[in-house]
């Protein structure tokens, strides 16, 4: 008798779970649908705005002046032209390749330097006390202006952009690595010592893994900074790259060109973000899957 009651209630609970799972799935589809609807709505309003109320060929009379604000079909046409005929600075893929190369190099070098210096200063208090004010002053400076200096010193090739990306990435990673080493759980350090760890083991088994979660968290931000560094650097002066494409489009009052380049950048940024997330999941499998990303 009790057994049947139990099995019934278990079934009921199972049914409830099923119902909830279905409701969740339905909600997911609805969210996806609404997202697409928003995009379609915005883009078609934009497109329509550039096409209604126009007198003859004077774009200024339209509801939205496509000369200033661009036009979705115009942006698509611009992209098609770039893919088919290339850009004024060479084929499209070469521009993307150069920007990506600068971003990745800037990211890797900047992160490596940031980790090394962050861990070093975190471990050696005297160094941290001496270097502290200088680092704070450097950090407070608007570092993008360094781009001009780098172009003067390093020229128009990729290294001036890499340098700017390095500088932007360095500080983000540095502060996180520094904090990560400083904030290490004292009990974990004590436990390692009791278990017989020498200073080297203490560093490799406790300090570094502890700092790593901070560092990884900073990689999301710093990859974005690397891309900003590369683009701004190209914008200031370059022979190739997506930043140069934007500068060129701006110089010829080609609003569609600016938007098209922006679109390319957005896709690059999203791909890069996905890559870091995968790296993060691989490197810190030991952490519960907390949702840290609020932008998606």
């Amino acid at each position: 008798m009790t057994a049947t009651v139990n099995s019934q209630s278990v079934e009921l609970a199972g049914d409830l779970d099923l119902v909830r799972a279905r409701a969740r799935a339905r909600r997911r589809w609805m969210v996806l649908f609404l997202r697409i609807a928003v995009a379609v709505g915005l883009v078609s309003t934009w497109e329509l705005g550039t096409r209604i109320g126009c007198y003859g060929s004077d774009t200024a009379t339209c509801l939205i002046d496509r000369f200033y604000y661009g036009q979705p079909t115009g942006i698509a046409a611009q992209l098609a032209t770039w893919v088919r005929d290339g850009t004024s600075s060479g084929p499209l893929y070469a521009q993307i390749y150069v920007t990506l190369l600068e971003t990745v190099l800037g990211f890797l070098i900047g992160s490596a330097l940031g980790i090394v210096f962050g861990v070093l200063l975190g471990r050696v208090p005297l160094l941290a006390d001496v270097a502290g004010p200088y680092i704070k002053a450097l950090n407070a400076m608007p570092r993008v202006v360094l781009g001009s200096i780098f172009i003067i010193i390093l020229g128009f090739e990729i290294w001036s952009k890499v340098a700017l990306a390095v500088v932007l990435v360095f500080f983000v990673v540095f502060f996180n690595a520094f904090q990560g080493v400083r904030e290490v759980d004292r009990d974990l350090v004590s436990n390692a010592r009791i278990l017989g760890a020498n200073p080297r083991q203490e560093f490799g088994h406790v300090l570094l893994p502890s700092a790593l979660s901070w560092i990884i968290a900073s990689l999301h931000t710093s990859l974005g900074f690397a891309l900003v560094g590369a683009i701004v650097g190209e914008y200031l002066g370059a022979r190739q790259g997506v930043g140069l494409m934007i500068a060129t489009a701006q110089g010829t009052f080609n609003a569609n060109g600016v938007y098209a380049a922006m679109l390319i950048l957005a896709v690059l940024a999203i791909l890069a973000e996905a890559l870091v997330t995968r790296l993060e999941n691989r490197l810190i499998r030991w952490r519960p899957n907390t949702v840290t990303d609020v932008t998606f």
């Binding site: 009990d187 974990l188 004590s190 436990n191 017989g196 790593l212």
Partner: protein
Amino acid sequence: MQQPGSQALSTDAAIVLRNVSKRFVSPEGKAFTALEGVDLTVAPGEFCAVVGPTGCGKSTTLALISGLEPPSRGEVSVLGRQVKGVQHSVGYMFQRDAVFPWKTVLDNVAAGPRFRGMGGGEATKRARDWIARVGLSGFEHHYPHQLSGGMRKRVALAQTLITEPRILLMDEPFSALDVQTRALMENELLDLWAATGASVVFVTHDLEEAVALSDRVVVITAGPGTVKAIYPVNLPRPRNIQEIRFEPEFMRIYEEIWSGLRDEVLVSYERAKHLLAS
């Protein structure tokens, strides 16, 4: 009841604290006395429980014995040698969870032998053995966050015992566990301890736990901590934690110690109230 210091300071004692004081100095230069003139001797193979109100210096006492903290005054020696730093003969289970969150259960338990230079294969073999002994077989490749609080305590226990410490320091190891899990772990601890013959200093704020587990209960006064009294617990071993609580002798000892402890708890409670009021 024995008076503090009345026990002979025999040279073959496992742990000796002689007139030990510990002062902490804050960055602003204010000194805070956590322990004042503590005398304590623990015999080889003895299970010694330490009770006292919160903040009376129980954890500090363990830190001194372990060598993680130096005493401000007095002398601490372990196995006949003055403590000058961390020693291989001491195992220490911390009050807070101190298993490494980035290591699997297996790697956590194998950490001690690995740190001490044992080869990977041998350390893994011994770790598996200890994981089985604390009842965690099948969880070797789990990370701590995937385990319950009780299971993490078992990992910590195995991690500590695998180094075969002759001195075992335990800081309120089971206080965060539910009653059933706790009784289970207490029994397991007694079994494991009986097999090792280690000297144990077991800190707890739970007097019942202290009496049930130990050979002697040390009562520490509300801060600055000093030894108020030491009570022998002459209950037969092996003990069963769930049953021993109902023995008349258990209750008698409990009552006796509680009458001494109560005043200290009240002092500490009044102070906390004043602090809140001010």
